[in-house]
Symmetry: D2
Subunit: 262 residues, 4 copies
Amino acid sequence: MSRSAKPLRSAMGWSNTDTITVRGRDLPSELLGHVNLGDMAFLEVAGRLPTKDESAVFNAVAVTLVEHGMTPSAIAARLTYLGAPESIQSAIAAGILGVGSVFVGTAEGSAQMLSASVTPETSQEEIAGIASRLVTEHRASRTPIPGIGHPVHKPIDPRVPRLFELAQQHGFRGTYCTLMEAVSAEAERQYNRVLPVNATGAVGALLCELKFDIRVARGIGAMARAVGLVGHIAEEMDTPMAAEIWARVEHEVVDFNRGDAS
Amino acid sequence: MSRSAKPLRSAMGWSNTDTITVRGRDLPSELLGHVNLGDMAFLEVAGRLPTKDESAVFNAVAVTLVEHGMTPSAIAARLTYLGAPESIQSAIAAGILGVGSVFVGTAEGSAQMLSASVTPETSQEEIAGIASRLVTEHRASRTPIPGIGHPVHKPIDPRVPRLFELAQQHGFRGTYCTLMEAVSAEAERQYNRVLPVNATGAVGALLCELKFDIRVARGIGAMARAVGLVGHIAEEMDTPMAAEIWARVEHEVVDFNRGDAS
Amino acid sequence: MSRSAKPLRSAMGWSNTDTITVRGRDLPSELLGHVNLGDMAFLEVAGRLPTKDESAVFNAVAVTLVEHGMTPSAIAARLTYLGAPESIQSAIAAGILGVGSVFVGTAEGSAQMLSASVTPETSQEEIAGIASRLVTEHRASRTPIPGIGHPVHKPIDPRVPRLFELAQQHGFRGTYCTLMEAVSAEAERQYNRVLPVNATGAVGALLCELKFDIRVARGIGAMARAVGLVGHIAEEMDTPMAAEIWARVEHEVVDFNRGDAS
Amino acid sequence: MSRSAKPLRSAMGWSNTDTITVRGRDLPSELLGHVNLGDMAFLEVAGRLPTKDESAVFNAVAVTLVEHGMTPSAIAARLTYLGAPESIQSAIAAGILGVGSVFVGTAEGSAQMLSASVTPETSQEEIAGIASRLVTEHRASRTPIPGIGHPVHKPIDPRVPRLFELAQQHGFRGTYCTLMEAVSAEAERQYNRVLPVNATGAVGALLCELKFDIRVARGIGAMARAVGLVGHIAEEMDTPMAAEIWARVEHEVVDFNRGDAS
């Protein structure tokens, strides 16, 4: 059966005998020693190097996402390492698989809400109205508003003022940040309880300010989490907890079943 | 059945109502806006922030590992995205799973060889003898020497002089770099062909110079590759190739089987 | 901080010194030698062993899902094996990650449509009306109807009559099968083209007939595909194609970029 | 750059407009309704359908590997489902990634030991000497002997006599089974403690008796475990434990760090 092949095209990276090009840049002379890992991530995703201001804000966003303590994702990575210590990459991959709709995915949710609601030119007055409408709609449909509220950090999430301060310093505190804050204020008014912008709300807003494609927001979260998971596995090598977690879970379940059977 | 529980301990990250601590540092005030993503990776794995010199060398190592063009790993990630576009994290995880013993694992191999052979105090004269012995042993057992030779980059891998130059500038061109270069020179002599230090050899040497635990070398590779995979998936969203790769492979296999059957 | 722990409960499997119980059955005496792998899957998911008729239909459903030739998922598994041959489980996992919304997920889609539309008691007359409404709705919203149409298999998908025949023989050709066929007939009428029930449509219908929870439909697909992926990796060990696929893709991309650069 | 393409070949599966062939068999007429899921796995890996006796033994082996209770792998799958409930396949993949060298990999280890030591023709007398040598060697090198000993099941693992009984009934209790039992007896003599053949030892022996390529042993384990993981995720949907495991681990770690900080 004949078919006409379509060409395969990629501008990510390629090499000659004596050159290595990544996203149009000569890796040895233009990137090594000149850019940090966060800038490299920006280059990979956006296709161009960040400005100094973009670098500062994007690195802060990425750093925010790296480490969230003993998350389900970190525990899953450690349990995987227990069974397959020969494959660190498997433990990292297992951890990344838990970065789905429930946790890091919420940054994607707030970025979607914000980018669908305003542009960089939307006026302050319009934003107030939009915030009011968004909160009313979510209340009516009884769906949680992405990017606000936190089970632990009250009355504020300490990452948020710092991220917005950095955005301000570097010229990225625009309409998306404003709308995110307006949504929080309006939600606190309508629900009559403390509902601060949370870290994923601020991250979502800043990814919009940096003009990232919303569809890669979760990818940026997964990439940052990969960094954190290497740390967890390094700690697990020296101070393991996976075997103990397993033992506790298994014993509790076995004891329960034994009780049932007797 | 009773058992005495062992405590679960971790120093990675934890939080209070108004504070978030990562590896002993206050995230908002000490990390956000102060460190880049590469520094954060160093903090996660080493348990302390890098010095300015360490930051420069480690970021260069990480940046080297991010993007290697159309690797099997990148292609696998794109094919996974084709089937599960709702789960970017799955595509990234699939790509990371190919970062095993064959490709990035070679950095681990060179780091193991180097760290098992010298210390920071080994003398120049001793290094020459060690290099000679290592090459002779690998020749005798007909096993490839990790960290040297490259199918494309000849007579040198252009990343290596740049990485070693950066190491020199920042005070990290020590005995591990020297041994890696001595092994290359000795191998070229014994095998009588061009066998330059390759990028994974330089990366392995620099991870030793930075005193990283060899066991996490592959993890650092996987983490850096996660950054690159986000780029590949972002490109796949706009300039897809996975469906075409699939179609070509399937058609060739089906055509072959049809011919067989007739 | 104190918290009241909730108990951890599971009825999957547990053991004593001299007994091993799986889903309430003694593994050595009640399962080994008595049930096949498909029955075991039924027991695991449904919590009870299948009847002989259920076993026949469920095994046919599972067997249908095992092998679909050179899918993106199979290619991704082979590429992963190329990079990490020491971890077969990684290659299988990478392949499973591509079993998402686009391919096997369509069985889930048809199961959802069917289970939301009829019960085992719905009458033939009602089914005709429901089919008409479903097609009209999908046409209006320009969304594809799950479970019908196939790019290759026309005018019929040869698996479907066989699956429905088996369902008939074993007493499982009920309202879900009827609706699936009515939807196909109605769609062919409204769209005026050949739109047969496809394999995922038949699988979705049979999972409904077997009273499986729709939410695990994709899991059953992933499990069956894991079986097929072991086959692909076994073949890849002896008749490899991953390195050649990689080489072709990389060369085409590099050649294109070189042309650009010259 | 020109290169000569090598052909891509596969005999796994392919289709025409009106036929679907898997491993040389017509799927609708020769497989659906005729083979169970275990037979299909045999066909995929071995390239031919099992005899009735092979089917009985292979299905028993696969069924043995499906469910081992609250393993690290099952817990990791449940934690992954908690974060990404939209992607059941991710939870299954995460669980499979823990099927590495430590747990299921031991079946691979015993299969390797057995297949490297005897052939189907080795005599009883020779086997006794081989068992003695194997135990002596493992003792000398202080490495664990694969396939013997169990932390819970003493003095015997109840799966083993049943598996060997089935092997006997179906004509597969050959030299590999004999050697595995001889190794256990010899180890009990030399170490002077209870060291029964365990399930992975019996599985390894039976895979040798069935003439499976040792390299796919771990793949068969991963495939069977995928079946079990679907069961765990189905249970997690209705009787969740992942959130409670997460809460317990996180609280214990946070409490510890708070105590440290005060």
